[in-house]
């Protein structure tokens, strides 16, 4: 009896605002699924620890500020390197031992790691999270006419898009990218050409993890820096990667942004379904194109 759901079409400017907000969320999906796709491509590992590593990126920014007074801008550089280094250690010490085994082992190991890391952070910092303020340069907002756009959110979209395009460029258009693509196809042969593939694998994992941490730093001022932030988003991001096609770089980027938009529209027309819509789409895509929209069939 208390139902005020607007089923009616919202006015165009309102819709525009919602699309923009969807794009902002899509930025996080794109950055995170990009890292996952890179890791899956070369290591053949479904990196379930990706959410925990995103969370560690946000915490790293918080530690830098709280312990040493190092602000947002340096954190944007330091945190990815620091968390990436942790990723490198994980690859060297643990993941390397799984090389050549079924995906399942990597999934279980990284899932276990995520539980441990998130549990430790929750034990120490609780679940409600820690505040991290927006850097002074990006405080405030612009009235776009159809909406009030916080400057920081605008920055998130522009920056993520830049990082995604730069990553795409590196992988598709440079020699390093050619090495990565070749090693994804046939690592043994690439190594027989004189490339230190194990090191390439380690660095690639580190880079994927660094991307997650970068997304974490970007998220810190918007969401609370919370031990749970990664667990909440990672399942959605996995769906995004599956929709885009496991291991497809372009697929990860495009479907990240696109699903942000679709989720945004769902929040207007049927908000109750906003956290399930992506899984519905995933199921549909898997039915029609099992390899994902941009995936190459095995």
């Amino acid at each position: 009896m208390f139902s005020w759901l607007h089923i009616a079409m919202p006015p165009a400017p309102a819709l525009f605002a919602q699309l923009l907000v969807g794009l902002i969320n899509g930025s996080f999906y794109a950055l995170l699924s990009l890292g996952l796709a890179i890791i899956f491509g070369l290591l053949n590992i479904i990196n379930f620890a990706h959410g925990a590593q995103y969370m560690m990126g946000a915490f790293c920014a918080w530690f830098l500020l709280d312990w040493w007074g190092i602000g947002y801008w340096p954190a944007l550089v330091i945190a990815p390197f620091a968390v990436g280094a942790v990723g490198i250690a994980i690859e060297r010490l643990l993941l390397r031992r799984l090389a050549g085994l079924d995906h399942l082992y990597g999934l279980l190991l990284t899932f276990g790691l995520a539980l441990v890391i998130e549990g430790l952070f929750r034990q120490r910092y609780g679940s409600s999270g820690l505040p991290y303020t927006i850097p002074a340069e990006l405080i405030g907002g612009k009235n776009l006419g159809f909406m009030f756009l916080p400057v920081y959110r605008g920055w998130v979209v522009v920056f993520s898009l830049t990082v995604c395009l730069a990553t795409w460029f590196v992988i598709e258009r440079t020699r390093l990218g050619a090495l990565l693509r070749a090693a994804t196809e046939n690592a043994t042969l690439v190594q027989a050409f004189g490339i230190d593939v194990p090191r390439l694998v380690t660095l690639t994992y580190g880079a994927g993890v660094a991307l997650a941490a970068l997304a974490g730093v970007l998220a810190a001022p918007i969401y609370q820096v919370s031990p749970l932030m990664g667990a909440n988003i990672i399942i959605v991001v996995f769906a995004v990667v599956v929709i885009g096609g496991m291991g497809s770089i372009l697929g990860a980027i495009v479907s990240g942004f696109a699903l942000g938009l679709i989720e945004g529209l769902t929040k207007v027309f049927y908000p109750e379904a906003s956290n399930t819509i992506i899984f519905v789409i995933m199921a549909l895509v898997l039915l029609v194109k099992p390899a994902g929209l941009f995936g190459r069939a095995a």
Binding site: R181, A182, L189, Q191, A192, G194, I195
Partner: protein
């Protein structure tokens, strides 16, 4: 001429299955030697074992005086060994030129890109195409071409003529001869001994994971009957 490659008592396993049972042979500096043998004799495995990419291995592989057993394949490549696999290994997600440029230069003295395009004009025309969109012959050219750039002095070539039309086989023969003139040392795996005879200095016969005979190319005609027996042709 000194031995560039000396293989001595080489054993190799794929998992539990013991495939090479003590392979012995040498390849001299500047010569083109072949490994001939029936299907499944262990020719490919020998090349892979030299390259350090066949499962477990034991014995000795000395290249330019250095022991290769125990080194990872990337270090072996960096010492100057170039490998052209039986399945060609052209990368689908790389363009022709990216495929060509993929193996890093390991020492000075490799061919320049221009020289390579002069030898393989087809590759120049198709350099922007996806690697696996090339014809079989072109893909074979590409697989050979990309190890010429690196400065490798020993080339391991696994059945470069397999499944190719006679004209293409002739072209490849010409390429191999010109490479020999340039001073490359080559170890060639072949099934087609008539083709092998047109390019090689010496042949080793592989059977059941061992080298059971060595025949100089000059003596090939005299040993034809024996060869037929070995190869079952």
């Amino acid at each position: 001429m000194p031995d560039l490659l000396a293989v001595d008592g080489l054993h190799a396993w794929y998992g539990e299955s013991h495939v090479l049972h003590g392979v012995d042979f040498v390849v001299r500096q500047g010569e083109l030697a072949t490994l001939l043998g029936r299907n499944g004799a262990g020719k490919t495995t020998t090349l892979r074992a030299i390259m350090g990419i066949a499962g477990r291995r034991r014995g000795s592989v000395r290249f330019a005086g250095a022991e290769l057993i125990g080194l990872p394949s990337n270090r072996i490549a960096r010492m100057g060994v170039g490998y052209c696999p039986e399945e060609r290994g052209v990368f689908a997600s790389l363009s022709v030129e990216e495929n060509l440029l993929l193996p890093p230069p390991v020492r000075p003295g490799g061919l320049s890109l221009d020289e390579i395009y002069t030898i393989f004009p087809n590759l120049l025309d198709r350099r922007r195409s996806q690697g696996t969109k090339l014809s079989g012959g072109e893909q074979q050219m590409l697989a050979i071409a990309r190890i010429l750039r690196t400065g490798a002095t020993l080339l391991l070539l696994d059945e470069p003529t397999e499944g190719l039309a006679p004209v293409i086989v002739q072209q490849i023969g010409a390429v191999l001869r010109s490479l020999k003139e340039r001073g490359f040392t080559m170890l060639l795996v072949e099934q087609n001994f008539r083709f092998a005879a047109t390019v090689a200095d010496r042949h080793y016969i592989v059977e059941h994971g061992r080298v059971i005979d060595a025949i100089d190319n000059a003596a090939l005609a005299a040993n034809e009957a024996k060869l037929h027996d070995y190869l079952g042709v």
